[in-house]
């Protein structure tokens, strides 16, 4: 019996949100009187496997093979199932990334297991695992209990605090790569890494976003918003209106049909706060609005605000931070 966590690798590097989840798994395992385990799949996993031990895994199940250098569902799901069996897993948890969600769903369906997709909390109650998640785009919260032998959950990034490594006492067990290259149907023929230095929205601590409020001079507006983001080491977000108008690419969109984010700080510049935008960022810890309209709905969710022209307020804020952070 154990709580098994998939540690996702991107180009050989660990997606750090997985450590949050592994630390949580250790806590749950303690309460359920079982152990925590990590699953690592890649072409080289030694370093990551050692790290998983220091982040608290009692056992690391690892598979290293050239066929595994890129995520492909067929071989990865086969290995995840192998690890679930070997670990006698009571729960299988993944980071709620695109791939984590897909792997969790596939393993759950094959194992006829219940799934809590995009869970935001996990806890133990009366010896049972309980997963918390929302449906109806954040408008209904529900608690799920599992009736299957195995419980599966994909968990939103940043649902739990980032742990410190603690040292290791666990062991690494190797899994056999079950498939040969000619048995794997999917072939990856080309790969382009995301721009370096770019901070991803879903795991950002701080997000600075721009909306249609930049319309008077969109390139200038996003330059100013971008400078504030850079000063704060923040990711750059946008409303759909800004994306649809072509001011900024879709990958920056926050909201219902964009990304769901949960940073500590969200600074909305020239964004009115439409329901569909709030659906994506309403869970931010602190929301700040910069808007020239005092009656914009965003102020009903914001903790702090400046009512002024963003073309003046944003650079002023950047300057104020530069002075303080220097």
């Amino acid at each position: 019996m154990s709580i098994l966590v998939w540690i996702e690798l991107n180009d050989g590097r660990v997606v750090t949100n997985c450590w949050e989840l592994l630390a949580k798994a250790k806590e749950l395992a303690f309460e359920l009187e079982t152990t925590s385990a990590a699953l690592l799949i890649g072409d080289e996993v030694d370093e990551a496997a050692r790290m998983a031990l220091t982040y608290g895994a009692d056992t690391v199940y690892a598979a290293a093979d050239a066929t595994l250098s890129r995520f492909r569902l067929q071989p990865y799901a086969a290995l995840a199932e192998q690890a679930v069996e070997r670990a006698g897993a009571r729960a299988f948890l993944t980071n709620g990334s695109i791939r984590g969600g897909t792997l969790a769903a596939t393993v759950a369906c094959r194992q006829k297991a219940g799934i809590a997709a995009n869970a935001s909390d996990l806890r133990v109650e009366e010896g049972e695992l309980v997963a918390v998640r929302t449906i109806y785009s954040g408008n209904i919260r529900a608690e799920l209990r599992f009736e299957s032998r195995l419980a599966v959950a994909s968990v939103r990034p940043r649902s739990f605090p980032m742990p410190e490594p603690v040292g290791s006492s666990g062991a690494i067990e190797m899994l056999d790569a079950v498939l040969d290259e000619d048995e794997i149907r999917e072939k990856v023929t080309d790969f382009r890494a995301a721009e370096v230095g770019e901070i991803g929205l879903t795991d950002a601590h701080i997000i600075v976003s721009g909306g249609r409020g930049v319309a008077a001079d969109p390139p200038k507006g996003f330059e100013l918003v971008g400078e504030l983001a850079e000063t704060l080491g923040a990711a750059l977000g946008a409303s759909r209106a800004a994306v649809d108008a072509g001011y900024i690419p879709y990958k920056h969109q926050v909201g219902q049909t964009g990304k769901t984010v949960g940073p500590d700080l969200y600074i909305a510049c020239g964004i009115s706060g439409a329901i569909q935008h709030l659906a994506g960022m309403g869970n931010s810890k602190i929301i700040v609005a910069i808007n020239k309209d005092r009656d914009a709905p965003i102020f009903e969710r914001a903790k702090y605000g400046i009512v002024d022209d963003l073309f003046e307020a944003v650079p002023a804020l950047t300057a104020a931070f530069r002075k303080r952070l220097a």
């Binding site: 109806y136 999917e186 022209d309």
Partner: protein, 261 residues
């Protein structure tokens, strides 16, 4: 070849905040129902692929008998045919029963040509899971590609596609049959044409019920303790000042005091 597209009828996103716990529990939702916005991209892609590869397209939806607005929307956009799976076939089953019923419907929709590509949206705005297509792929025993931003080609029985994930973008090749969940970047969904709407309004949509397909029960989760998360009422603090710099200085200090920077 035939392309099937899985679509769900979901509440209008503007009305989602009004959904009550009772509605969520019973599934009897009073909101205006529309084609799930993420599925519009899948429908557009199905129509586009049917044109590119001279094949047929079919939209499949599991829902309530009589509630066909989403299917009619897909037909009005230009999908060749629609098929409704009566949600009663899954009883009070969850994701995997839904997936199994949809997989069975795909087989029934096969006709003579054989469905070799199933398209789906990214997620439903009510279920918010993004798991149904994974279940359908699993039940059919087909491969699955997710977050696909471009279907480059279908050639020699292989699908060539671009997919995006957090770490970058890949071009992949996989033999048909395959299930593909599409991302928003893939296309610009068209509006239904006037002719399309007229045609759709007259269309008869066949319904698959318990006589046509059976789904094994497999209760896997219990949904409990539903509640409505009330957004924390925070009283906003608007910084006053005679100049914008003054306001910005105060805001910067407040944020530093919050220790979030």
């Amino acid at each position: 070849m035939k392309v099937a597209v899985l679509i769900k009828q979901t509440p209008d996103t503007a009305e989602l905040p009004k959904i009550t716990v009772d509605e969520a529990r019973s599934g009897e939702v009073g909101a205006t129902m529309v084609l799930n916005p993420w599925d519009e991209f899948a429908v557009e892609e199905a129509i586009d692929l049917a044109d590119r590869f001279s094949c047929e397209s079919a939209a499949i939806s599991l829902g309530r008998v009589g509630e066909t607005d989403a299917l009619k929307h897909a037909l009005a956009m230009g999908v060749d045919s629609g098929l409704l799976v009566d949600e009663q076939v899954i009883g009070d089953g969850g994701e995997w029963e839904t997936a199994e019923a949809l997989a069975e419907a795909v087989k029934i929709a096969d006709g003579e040509e054989g469905v070799s590509l199933v398209l789906a949206g990214k997620m439903s705005v009510d279920g918010n899971s993004g798991v149904i297509y994974a279940g359908v792929a699993c039940k059919l025993g087909w491969d699955l590609l997710v977050n696909v931003t471009r279907i480059v080609d279908i050639v020699d029985g292989k699908l060539i596609a671009e997919q995006v994930f957090e770490g970058g973008q890949e071009t992949v090749e996989t033999p048909l049959p395959v299930v593909v969940s599409v991302a928003k970047e893939i296309n610009e969904p068209r509006y239904p044409s006037f002719m399309g709407i007229r045609k759709a309004s007259r269309a008869q949509i066949p319904v698959l019920g318990e006589d046509e397909l059976q789904v094994g029960p497999s209760s896997t989760v219990r949904w409990e303790g539903m509640s409505k998360p009330e957004p924390e009422r925070v009283e906003v603090r608007i910084f006053e000042g005679s100049t914008v710099e003054e306001k910005a200085e105060q805001l910067a200090d407040a944020l530093l005091a919050e220790k979030v920077i």
